[in-house]
Amino acid sequence: MSEDMLKVVVFGALNAGKTTFVEKLSGQKLFLKGEYENITTSFDFVQMEQGNFLIHLFASPGHRRFSFMWDTLATGMDGAILLIDSTVGITPVDHELIKFILNYDVPYVIAVNKNDICSLEPTNVRKELDISDEIPVINTSAIINQNLVNVLDSLIQTIAEKNIV
């Protein structure tokens, strides 16, 4: 952690709601919105201030075809948010993304999105993804801005704790 800046990247499968997540969380028009016909083909980017940090917030493409962008976006990230689409459940892409994030050895939080339509129990998500109790799993709805700030605050706290240790 340096210069009070954090790079945070939102990952997730296709149509999990990553673009809406960063739009609603930042509360502003995105600086960059790399989409074609509502599918993110490059990445989304915006800056926001939260908890005395300037957050550089990126959202990755979800389509497997554009997964080569994941490494580029992950370079230098301080933390990650994995968005799961609760209307679909845990997919092979989610398993792949967990492994991907673990390779970068950064703190991460899981947001189980679309909670306004369908709810997945965090305990079941934890079990299915085989992740420890230390990883926060939070039900969210990007579209109605439910728990989005909690996800970011939780990630910031985890990053801060990691840097103290």
Binding site: S2, F31, S42, F45, Q47, M69, T72, L73, T75, G76
Partner: protein, 121 residues
């Protein structure tokens, strides 16, 4: 990655070239080194993403290592060159800029950047 190192002198020599509008240094994390505002942040993030995409393209068709990326618009050209393992320099030029001259001075500036990097490591 988010080094405080100032590359000001080398950037000044690039900015003095006729036809150069501006130049900035960014980390490969997509975050500008030095002044951070909306424009430099957008330029840094999109440049690094473009580099990543083009590098993937050259790699997947076995077409060598990416050395420099040049983007042409009706406003001018954007020249992008990586240096070291963590940085990139981005030069914005006017349409009528002497690209040959800019590329020569850019190569020299990249060497200066490398020296600065070695000195802080």
């Amino acid at each position: 990655m988010k080094t405080n190192t100032s590359f000001k002198e080398a950037l000044t020599s690039i900015n003095r070239i006729n036809g150069v509008k501006d130049s900035i240094v960014a980390g490969l994390d997509g975050i500008p080194v030095g002044k951070i505002d909306k424009n430099t942040s957008i330029l840094s993030a999109s440049t690094v993403a473009a580099l990543g995409a083009v590098r993937e393209m050259t790699r997947s068709i076995n077409y060598g290592n990416l050395e420099q990326l040049m983007i042409e618009t009706d406003f001018g050209k954007i020249i992008i060159e990586e240096f070291g393992k963590e940085h990139v320099v981005i030069v914005l030029t006017e349409n009528n800029a002497n690209i040959g001259m800019i590329r020569v001075i850019l190569k020299k500036a990249v060497k200066e950047f490398m020296v600065k990097l070695v000195n802080i490591q």
